[in-house]
């Protein structure tokens, strides 16, 4: 067997001519690659100054603005701790072992590790521990019509809370074992993702009574701090091997999610014109979830003119808290054929079926302390089938013309469609034409055009849940990318994307209201890379993105009838100016710097007179309330100085200045971060 494997691989690699000389024994090449040991020690400084821009709220005497802390948006993903730091990188390949031990500790909320060990090809072990920080939003609930006694109120219980953040651990492992001389693997992969911290909970803290003239007094929006301690454990066990023309992979996966904290409670208020009841109930219950999946993959050799692969997977998910269940079965097959080197034809099919079950009823005690029982709607059950046909034609070497047609049909099970107001059938056709050129010297071009059309069969409708769908009927998309080497020292990158959607019969609520929609999304980016000399290069870039739409939407009047607000518009824009510098002024000094400046703006505007902000009691018009207006400076400077004899100094600096002057979510702040390193590199 050993000889046959050797013979086969020898032949496959070198062909018959090379067989006699292929087994060089390197007798006089005793040196292996050096073992590298690289240590660094230093310190990281991280600080932020949060501020809020409550000008509008203050101008309009919105009392909720007082004492507001705001979101730590400037430092959203930076751990705000100053600490001693250090790291190590050990790599070596003393045959037949290989190892790579890398760990960087910045502070106790921020680290990264990549630890690998291999023995021949029999064993591969990899551990990837990672910890990161997410500083979360701290939003204030404003009452925009405080002068009216009939408006909703707010119940802010987290005033002054500064530390909404999660510490997230993502710890992965991969272990693979292989039989000697034969590619049969047994493997296990897995990860534990743990989130711990405090976040803001915003919720309906009580409500009023729905009456014929709208909502009665007492709609209470509430906010409070909530602790988070959640863990997701995932483990995969599988085996993989090839049996001649086919390769198999069979795996089993288990996932478990649980929260270590009890469900919080809140003293809700129920207010009518005559009563003001307070009652305690739990909220934001985090369920215990379990999922199991089995996957079988089969494929042929990648070296053949014909290639085929198939995947079948089934997934079962259970909510252990409420006993809701979901099952997804998934099948995929593809075949590609290379009749000649310049032409490739392929077909892919994908099938997905979603099934669900849940207890028939649920009982609870409502706001009037009355026991209630409700019949539950099982989740939507559906089946989606996708067929894709592709062709790739190389007009000239290194130029490809790609054609692709996709047909996707989604069938929603009859009862689900009626219960949930979903179209019974949705058919999507996608036509794509792409072109890539790598052949013309100094020019690389990519182009892609796509047209997507959607059709719906709404089927039977129920009076309660009439079908709703806002899928665009027609979408046209175009992408163009260019890389031009203008001179040996100057290159240009440009990329553009335009997507236009149009609909004339969006089914809005009520099922019989046909709505129109036009959506235009654009993105453009241009970058220059200029190498002044071997020591200095500079790359300025500019990006523009916009999302614009005009859409009919529906308001429900006080009597319950629908009114179409024709031509509700929304436009958002983003512009990003960036500058990257790379300098090596001396042999010992490396400097990399980057500055990004991002500005965004936008708003939405209803056309209905009752939504135009003409009501004098409102603190802001619709346009003012919906305004998006942010600015972000993001500056990074990384430098290294080689002191000689393996010693080095490093300095990494970060500066972020964030400002959001929108009415809905004003915030601002500055983040400063610094990392100082003294490093020593050893070779053995």
């Amino acid at each position: 067997m050993k000889k046959l494997t050797l013979l086969f691989t020898t032949f496959a690699l070198l062909g018959p001519n090379g067989a006699k000389n292929c087994m060089a024994d390197y007798k006089d090449m005793a040196n292996q690659v050096s073992t590298v040991a690289n240590f660094w020690i230093g310190g990281s400084l991280n600080d932020t100054s949060s501020s809020t821009n409550n000008s509008l709220a203050e101008d309009n005497a919105l009392t909720e603005a007082a004492g507001r802390v705001g979101s730590n948006k400037a430092s959203e993903y930076y751990a705000l701790k100053s600490s001693g730091s250090g790291g190590v990188l050990l790599t070596g390949a003393p045959a037949p072992s290989r190892y790579h031990l890398e760990f960087d500790y910045y502070n106790d909320n921020d680290w990264f590790g990549d630890l690998r060990y291999s023995y021949k090809d029999y064993l591969q072990l990899r551990l990837l521990p990672r910890r990161l920080t997410h500083n979360l939003d701290n939003l204030t609930l404003f009452d925009f019509a405080p002068t009216l006694a009939t408006t909703g109120s707010t119940d802010v219980r987290d005033r002054g809370v500064e530390d909404y953040r999660l510490r997230i651990d993502i710890d992965e492992y991969r272990l693979r074992l292989k039989t000697p001389n034969y590619p049969l693997h047994v493997y296990t992969n897995g990860e534990v993702i743990r989130k711990k911290g405090v976040r803001q909970a915003r919720f309906l803290g009580g409500d009023g009574q729905r009456g014929t003239t709208g909502i009665a007094p007492g709609q209470v929006r509430a906010s409070m701090a909530r602790e988070v301690d959640q863990e997701t454990q995932t483990m995969i066990v599988g085996t993989n091997a090839h049996l001649g023309p086919l390769e198999f992979d069979v795996s089993h996966k288990e996932r478990k999610f649980e929260s270590d904290l009890p469900t919080p409670t809140f003293d809700y208020r129920y207010i009518t014109a005559t009563t003001n009841t307070v009652f305690t109930r739990d909220l934001h219950a985090i369920p215990e979830l379990k999922a199991t999946s089995n996957t079988l993959k089969v494929h042929t050799s990648h070296t053949g003119r014909i290639f085929a692969s198939a995947t079948y997977s089934e997934l079962e998910k259970t909510n252990e808290s409420s006993h809701a269940e979901a099952e997804t079965s998934f099948g995929y097959g593809e075949i590609s054929w290379l009749p000649v080197a310049y032409l490739s034809i392929g077909a892919k099919v994908r099938h997905q079926k979603n099934e669900a079950s849940a207890p028939a009823t649920i009982s609870w005690i409502d706001r009037t302390n009355t026991s209630r029982t409700e019949v539950l709607r099982p989740a939507v059950e559906s089946q989606t089938d996708t067929a894709i046909i592709t062709a790739r034609y190389s007009l000239i070497p290194k130029s490809n013309l790609n054609l692709q047609y996709t047909r996707q049909v989604k069938d929603v099970e009859g009862k689900s469609a009626v219960d949930w107001g979903r179209p019974q059938k949705t058919a999507k056709d996608v036509y794509e034409l792409g072109f890539t050129n790598w052949a013309i010297p100094r020019l690389r071009a990519t182009m892609k055009l796509a047209h997507i059309s959607n059709g719906h069969d709404y089927g039977n409708a129920s009076a309660s849940y009439e079908p709703v769908s806002i899928d665009p009927e027609h979408t046209s998309q175009g992408t163009l990318g260019l890389t031009v080497l203008l001179s040996p020292r100057l290159s240009l990158f440009a990329n553009g994307f335009v997507s236009k959607e149009e609909s004339t019969d969006n089914r809005l609520v009520g099922g019989h209201v046909d709505g129109r929609a036009k959506v235009l999304n654009q993105q453009g980016m241009m970058s220059l890379n200029f190498a002044l000399n071997e020591k200095f290069s500079i790359s300025p870039s500019y990006s523009y993105m916009s999302w614009e739409q005009e859409r009919d939407i529906v308001w429900e009047t006080s009597t319950g009838s629908e009114v179409v607000d024709s031509g509700f518009t929304s436009k958002q824009e983003a512009q990003i100016l960036a500058l990257a510098l790379s300098a090596k002024p001396t042999k010992r000094l490396n400097i990399n710097a980057a500055v990004d400046f991002t500005i965004t703006e936008g708003d939405y505007n209803p056309t209905s007179p009752i939504q135009l902000g003409t009501l004098s009691f409102l603190a802001a018009s619709a346009a003012e309330f919906s305004r998006t207006d942010t600015k972000e400076w993001n500056v990074r400077l990384d430098s290294e100085y080689d002191l000689g004899r393996g010693w080095g100094l490093g300095l990494d600096l970060r500066y972020v200045d964030w400002e959001d002057t929108s009415t809905d979510n004003p915030s601002g702040g500055i983040y400063y971060g610094g990392l100082f390193k003294v490093s020593k590199k050893l070779f053995y």
Binding site: A95, I286, L289, I306, T311, A379, N402
Partner: protein, 336 residues
Amino acid sequence: MKCKANLVRLLLLLGVAAALLIGGCVSKLKEAKPIIPIKEYEKMLFGKMTADYVGNENCLKGCHTHDKLALDFKSSTMGDQLKQSSSGMMVVDCESCHGPASELMAAIEGLDLKKDAQAILKAHKDNLLDYQTLPGGAKSLICLKCHTANATFNIHNWNGSTHAGNDVTCSSCHPIHAGADLIAEPRAISTLCMGCHIGNAAQFSLPSRHPVKEGRMYCTDCHEPHGNANANNLREMTQRETCGRCHTEKTGPFLYEHADNTEQCSSCHSPHGSINNNMLKLPVTFLCKQCHPMHRNSSTALGALSQTYTRCTDCHSMVHGSDTPGLNTAGGTLTR
């Protein structure tokens, strides 16, 4: 029942592993046979028909002796680590990928390394495989010849993948001479991807984003670059499962679902970045209003406030699904 079913599955898995092991003893099954070899590519990779293999000594002793790349490659998985004497696998040497070098040796004989550098470089180009002119499929075939035989894990769907269909090759992401270990380093992956996907690079500079630019997440946390059976090369079979890797609490199943909207997270979210909070595609009020007329309206303050001036999720905070009925007599309001 579930435990029993899982036990059956585990036994089935072990059975398959045993079958594969037994199958492995049948020597013919060890060979990864292509379905009709691609002759055009094979010819391209064969190199000069008139040349012969001369062994690595000529490359390493002559000019590349002290090159780091020679040492790195020698120490790599494909070098001494798995050489025939210990594992039965082939030693991959310079000529395995670059083609037979006897004519190169003849062409550069007597040339001076410094004085005739240009002539030596030209001789390499003329006598070895010219990678610059090889089509992407042929370049990848060099690697796939072994990595198919070796049952490499994550390339089950490589040939049908978007990358393979666009001339992205193995060496586009795994530079062969970069070191002894060819694994793409996690913290370098995003920069690597954005070298081509430059539009996505700009999206990660938008105000609401995953921390890719900050180096705390990587493209491969969500995508499988070698291709797989899933749409957009997502790591899991659906968007819900992919996002649910970290946001598991939002995946359910729940007693009260948001219809099937949460199946496609991208119905509401723009995962690469957005202007709006929580990576929403649009401001939350306008986003929800596209489908929902929401509360009954009137010309009073509350009508206006509840429809245009309130973040919907301030009240409907369990918008991804909930097991808890609302406070009213009807349950499924996703409010708590």
